[in-house]
């Protein structure tokens, strides 16, 4: 468990946006990063100004076709909701994490995840979110959320997740 504890310490120290990412550890591991690292970020899903509400009610992620960064209608609808929420809750910034499934080399998947994160960032900006509130990062195939090796899992792993962080200047 040293891995987890070190990560928690790192997250607390940097107040890093990526640390609130619920993908990082599965829930069965009973490590609640939202309480530990992102103090005050998560809140209750009943509270429409909370990060938990953003994750669960608005939807923090969009999915992609194989090898593509294209945003389909479902993804655009989710991102419309994200943009509205972000423009209402201006205390938050966000890191958009791009991910790929395991089909492909490490390097190519890093670049592909970056394309996906960038597509989300550009969409949110066109919807009115200030560019300086959004950062992008790619994890390539390093952080799948589902771990089987077939399309049922791959479809969920080809994703971009908008991870909320503390606000500007905090």
């Amino acid at each position: 468990m040293t891995y987890l504890s070190k990560t928690l310490i790192l997250c607390a120290g940097l107040a890093l946006a990526a640390c609130t990412n619920p993908d990082r550890f599965d829930n069965g591991n009973s490590v609640d990063l939202n309480n530990g690292a992102g103090a005050g970020l998560a809140g209750s899903a009943q509270d429409p100004t909370s990060a938990a509400y953003f994750q669960q009610a608005v939807g923090d992620r969009v999915l992609f076709e194989v090898d593509q960064p294209t945003l389909n209608a479902t993804a655009q609808s989710t991102l419309d909701g994200q943009a509205n929420w972000l423009m209402t809750n201006r205390d938050f910034t966000a890191v958009i994490e791009g991910h790929a499934d395991e089909q492909g080399t490490r390097e190519y998947n890093l670049a592909l995840g970056a394309r996906r994160a960038n597509a989300v960032q550009e969409y949110l900006i066109t919807q009115g979110v200030a560019p300086n509130r959004l950062r992008v990062v790619s994890f390539g195939k390093e952080r799948p959320i589902e771990i089987c090796s077939n399309e049922a899992c791959y479809t969920k792993n080809r994703r971009a997740v908008t991870v909320l962080a503390a606000g500007l200047g905090s």
Binding site: K6, D26, R106, E107, L110, A111, A114, E142, E146
Partner: protein
């Protein structure tokens, strides 16, 4: 941290009879002609006056034998079958006894400790059937905990004198040690001998680390780490494990670094606005130069041995393919034309071949092609093989193999460029992204 570069005083004292010209004797393996029958050899324990020395002599002989057998080109005659016992390094070899057990090559040695506590090893290599020594005897001096390096150096000499190729046993591999399930995998940099011995960890697993790459002399390692939350390139000094981040632009990602043969320039991928291009950076000054400007993905660059050209991966044609361009950038020519997707090209240290990862029909392969793209040959096939790295002599490739499914694990494998001798490389944990060092001095 322990010192990695022990002072191996390879005095190479020549005290034996005049050398046979290398390769003139009948004891010869032509690697390129595809060896089917491994050459039988005997490597009796190195003799010693002391009990501690005898154990050391046994260990050294055992590592020599493992190195040679591990190539698939040699086959050890077990000591139980030996008729003759080597009791003195200076006594004449009983060729008839070694012929009788069909040992074509015989390696004898003696080990002792000098006044400074260092190991002194002497060895000779014999061509049993022609009844002659093959090359000259040599003497190697090293530290007590460097005995495996002495053995590897002897094995490199045997391999080199019999095949005419450079050896690769006295070398190291830097890689990513992995533990935990796929969705929360912990990764840290590790370094080991080429055969999996002497593993040491270079980073902790607090952040994801990827794709370490040795410098041309093996003294430094480039790698990518997420310790800032974003992928950035670091350079690590192997001897003292000191590291520093290379300069980067805010809001960008940088990854896939590799040294140029001059050891000063790094070529790498930089992603800005979703677009990944190739850049170079002078490690000393931090000054960077952009090499490509296409809206496509350009990544996984690798220099040719003289540093004049770069082979890389790009999806400018619609799928990832391999391209070669001048090291200063400019027009690139595509070299991969087979069916499938190509990635992670690596120029061989001999300059003759490019190793690559190929994805085709749901399978992954490690392959090699000539640098103009001709004579493509696939060496492996599995659910996921990727990331080849060359042995110092350009005859063997090590790579990552990841198994399928929720329990999938990554491990290291090696294969000859003939496609023979595919085998797992032993590691303490899961392992990926190997980078093979040059031969040590």
């Amino acid at each position: 941290m322990m010192r990695f570069m022990m002072t191996l005083l390879a005095a190479l004292t020549l005290w034996a009879m005049p050398a046979l010209a290398q390769g003139n004797g009948p004891l010869r393996i032509e690697i390129t002609e595809g060896v089917i029958e491994p050459m039988p050899f005997a490597a009796p324990d190195f003799v010693s006056d002391s009990a501690a020395g005898q154990e050391l002599g046994r260990n050294i002989a055992s590592v020599i034998a493992a190195d040679l057998s591990g190539t698939g080109l040699f086959r050890q005659i077990p000591s139980e079958a030996h008729i003759s016992r080597i009791t003195s390094f200076e006594s004449p070899v009983q060729y008839a006894d070694w012929r009788a057990v069909n040992a074509q090559a015989l390696i004898t040695g003696a080990v002792s400790t000098d006044g400074a506590g260092r190991i002194v090893a002497k060895f000779r290599i014999y061509d049993v059937f022609s009844g002659q020594e093959l090359g000259s005897g040599q003497q190697l001096v090293g530290t007590q905990d460097g005995w495996r390096r002495i053995a590897h150096k002897v094995a490199d000499q045997v391999y080199s004198r019999i095949t005419g190729e450079g050896g690769y046993f006295d070398s190291r591999v830097v890689f990513v040690a992995e533990s935990g399930p796929k969705d929360q995998r912990a990764k840290r940099l590790a370094i080991m001998d080429y055969d999996g011995a002497n593993t040491q960890y270079l980073t902790d697993s607090a952040s994801i680390v990827l794709a370490p790459r040795f410098s041309p002399t093996g003294d430094r390692v480039l790698y990518t780490s997420y310790e800032t939350g974003f992928p950035r390139i670091y350079v690590l000094d192997v001897a003292n494990v000191g590291r520093r981040e290379l300069p980067t632009l805010d809001g960008t990602m940088s990854f896939a670094p590799r040294f140029a043969p001059n050891g000063r320039t790094v070529v790498y991928s930089l992603t800005q606005g979703g677009n990944t291009d190739l850049y170079t950076m002078d490690v000393g000054s931090g000054a960077s130069t952009r090499l490509t400007t296409a809206p496509s993905i350009e990544t996984a660059p690798s220099y040719n041995p003289d540093g004049s050209q770069i082979v890389f991966e790009s999806d400018r044609s619609g799928t990832p393919q391999l391209y070669v361009m001048s090291a200063g950038g400019g027009e690139a020519r595509r070299i991969s034309f087979g069916e499938g997707r190509y990635g992670t090209p690596v120029w061989s240290p001999r300059g003759d071949l490019v190793a690559f990862t190929k994805q085709s029909k749901g399978r992954f392969h490690i392959g090699v092609m000539r640098t103009d793209g001709s004579e493509e040959r696939l060496l492996t096939a599995s659910f996921l093989d990727e990331g080849p790295t060359w042995a110092p002599n350009g005859r063997v490739i090590m790579f990552t193999r990841e198994t399928q499914g929720a329990q999938g694990q990554a491990s290291l494998y090696s294969v000859d460029i003939t496609g023979r001798n595919l085998k797992a490389v032993p590691t303490n944990t899961g392992a990926s992204d190997p980078s093979w060092s040059p031969l040590q001095n």
